[in-house]
């Protein structure tokens, strides 16, 4: 029965789930089987080539790159998912509220979001990081906030469009007639109906978040060393690409695989939601 149910799922969803399950397993279990810790220096000669002792070679401080890549999985996953989640929840709720309330409130909010969207996202991220000051630089909370400020306006636009479509429906009119507050309508009437669209939006954003956070780390504004974040590792090891290409390609491959998995998963999810909605209405 499970097999036949699985067979009806879009193939991209299944492949995506398999890739994500692999990454999750590594993220959760790596600390038990990784050969070295992420910041143990001098476990091998710096920049030694891949061998049986060091599958992906060692970096400039003689740290084991294989251990650092697998131990970095949980940081990368947690950062990407928590920041996208914060952005989706805030952006989603604000967008739904804005679409429901309408009027000048809606207009004002949307123009403010237009302004935030009117700044290229990396430039916006750098502005926030500059404003936060050097004490907060590299702080996880700051990174989550940066991603949230960049993503939330875009999510809010989607949520608002969904809300504007929903507010003309009878169940919203009825809820209004019952005298429910706007917050209660947003939470109990709109959110359940918008969850599919928001889920897909979450997936699309989460699929890009590792690249985004990795880019910030690469520029030197992401997580602090010696965190084994893949973007930071690529930046640190880049000079060694002449000597041991693997120390760069390993974190790059890990990052690319995760993004591919997230994208396939989201693509499949969108198809699956579209299909089950089509089946329900048709």
């Amino acid at each position: 029965m499970v097999i036949s149910w699985l067979r009806r799922l879009p193939p991209t969803l299944i492949i995506g789930m398999m890739i994500l399950a692999f990454y999750l397993t590594v993220a959760i279990t790596a600390r038990y089987w990784a050969p070295y810790t992420h910041n143990k220096i001098g476990v091998g000669i710096p920049f030694s080539k891949p061998s049986n002792d060091h599958y992906f070679g060692t970096d400039q401080l003689g740290r084991d790159v294989f251990s650092r890549v697998v131990l970095g999985a949980d940081d990368v996953l947690i950062l990407a998912i928590s920041s996208t989640l914060v952005a989706t929840v805030i952006g989603g709720l604000v967008g739904l509220l804005s679409g429901l309330v309408g009027g000048w409130f809606d207009q004002l909010l949307m123009r403010a979001f237009d302004a935030l969207i009117g700044i290229p996202f990396l430039v916006l991220a750098l502005l926030i990081i500059a404003a936060a000051g050097s004490e907060l630089s590299g702080d996880t909370r700051l990174l989550i906030m940066v991603v949230a400020v960049v993503y939330a306006p875009r999510t809010a636009r989607i949520a608002r469009a969904v809300a504007i479509d929903l507010v003309t429906r009878d169940f919203v009119t009825v809820a209004r007639a019952r005298g429910e507050s706007v917050f209660s309508i947003v939470w109990r009437e709109l959110t359940p109906n918008a969850i599919g669209a928001l889920l897909v939006e979450f997936g699309v954003r989460a699929g890009y978040a590792p690249i985004f956070i990795g880019s910030l780390s690469f520029l030197g504004f992401g997580v602090r060393p010696p965190t084994p974040e893949w973007g930071l590792m690529i930046a640190e090891n880049r000079a060694a690409i002449f000597v041991v290409p693997m120390v760069v390609f390993a974190p790059a491959g890990a990052l690319a695989g995760l993004v591919i998995g997230l994208n396939l998963f989201t693509d499949g999810l969108a198809r699956w939601i579209g299909r089950s909605q089509g089946a329900a209405s048709g």
């Binding site: 123009r111 403010a112 009117g118 500059a130 690319a256």
Partner: protein
């Protein structure tokens, strides 16, 4: 009607730009700490600090400073850089050469991107679901998952390290002849091209396939026209509308994307200037670059918007 629609988009873009300028000024000015003490150092006397504050108008209220800043910015005067006080370096002077370099890079990347996208999408659509299409789709998926800094690093590894065709680091600031300019811009431009084309190839392929299945294309093929003519003159113009919109949006992406790519190749452009000034917290330079980049970004988005209005035949009446 269409003129009014375009005009209203333009007004909206200007309003957005104004809001953006407020936001940029506000974030750059709330940089924590006493700027005077930080820039002049601990040994500075109270008088010199006060003189510094006077010169930067730090004692005036925020909205007044914003107005003066905006007035200067419109005239190309972005004030004095906070770094290296002895030199009194105008922000505009440090931006100008960078702006030129970034513009060269952007134009080069875009000039590569459009033909590459059209060519690969046409191949993909012509050989639909066969080997060339499969290979292009697979490369696309991988490209989609690669951040700019990984693509750039891989290109450096291939072209600069393995085959020594091009320099590892870009030396655009010293480039004089066309050959030197090409030498120092090609790898960054190719990186940007790859990032931009992965989305658009997919999109153009899908809309080409749709058009290729229509009656008039079958008619053209039955007439005995060669395949390339059918694609170039019959199918592409009709498949181009959605792709043109993405191309214009990619122009907007390009402006933000240069930040990372310039850093990868140590390219002396606006993006690397922004990163440097964030590191040293040089507020006037941050403000100037962010405003400049956002202006171009909003203009590119407006251009994409207007293109999709003009290309939509349903809006073309009246």
């Amino acid at each position: 009607m269409i003129i009014r629609l375009i005009l209203s988009r333009m007004v909206l873009a200007v309003l957005t730009l104004l809001a953006v300028s407020v936001f940029i000024f506000w974030t750059a000015e709330i940089l924590p700490g006493d700027i005077a003490a930080r820039v002049l150092g601990r040994e500075a006397t109270e008088e010199s600090k006060q003189a510094f504050r006077d010169r930067l108008r730090l004692d005036r209220p925020l909205h007044e400073r914003y107005w003066l800043w905006l007035k200067g910015a419109v005239q190309g005067d972005f004030g004095v850089s906070l770094v290296d006080q002895s030199q009194e370096r105008q922000v505009a002077d440090s931006i100008k050469p960078r702006l030129k370099n970034t513009a060269i890079l952007g134009v080069y990347a875009f000039a590569l991107y459009v033909p590459v996208t059209i060519f690969l999408a046409s191949i993909s659509a012509l050989y639909r679901d066969r080997l060339p299409d499969g290979v292009i789709s697979l490369v696309n998926l991988v490209g989609l998952a690669m951040p700019e800094f990984v693509i750039g690093t891989v290109l450096i590894y291939g072209f600069a390290v393995k085959w020594s065709l091009l320099p590892v680091l870009s030396q655009i600031q010293r480039a004089e002849t066309l050959k030197e300019i090409l030498n120092s811009t090609t790898l960054p431009a190719v990186t940007l091209t790859i990032v931009m084309s992965v989305y658009s190839i997919r999109l153009l392929r899908d809309s080409l396939i749709e058009v290729l299945e229509s009656e008039y294309i079958r008619m053209a093929i039955l007439k005995g026209l060669p395949r390339y003519r059918v694609i170039l003159f019959h199918a592409l113009p009709n498949a181009a509308a959605p792709a043109l919109n993405t191309m214009a949006l990619n122009l907007a992406y390009l402006i933000g994307g240069v930040v990372v790519v310039e850093q990868v190749f140590a390219f002396q452009g606006l993006g690397s200037l922004l990163v440097q000034s964030v590191f040293v917290r040089d507020a006037p330079t941050i403000e100037a670059v962010a405003l400049l980049v956002s202006t171009v970004y909003i203009a590119a988005n407006l251009f994409a918007d207007v293109m999709s209005i003009v290309l939509n035949p349903r809006l073309r009446t009246g």
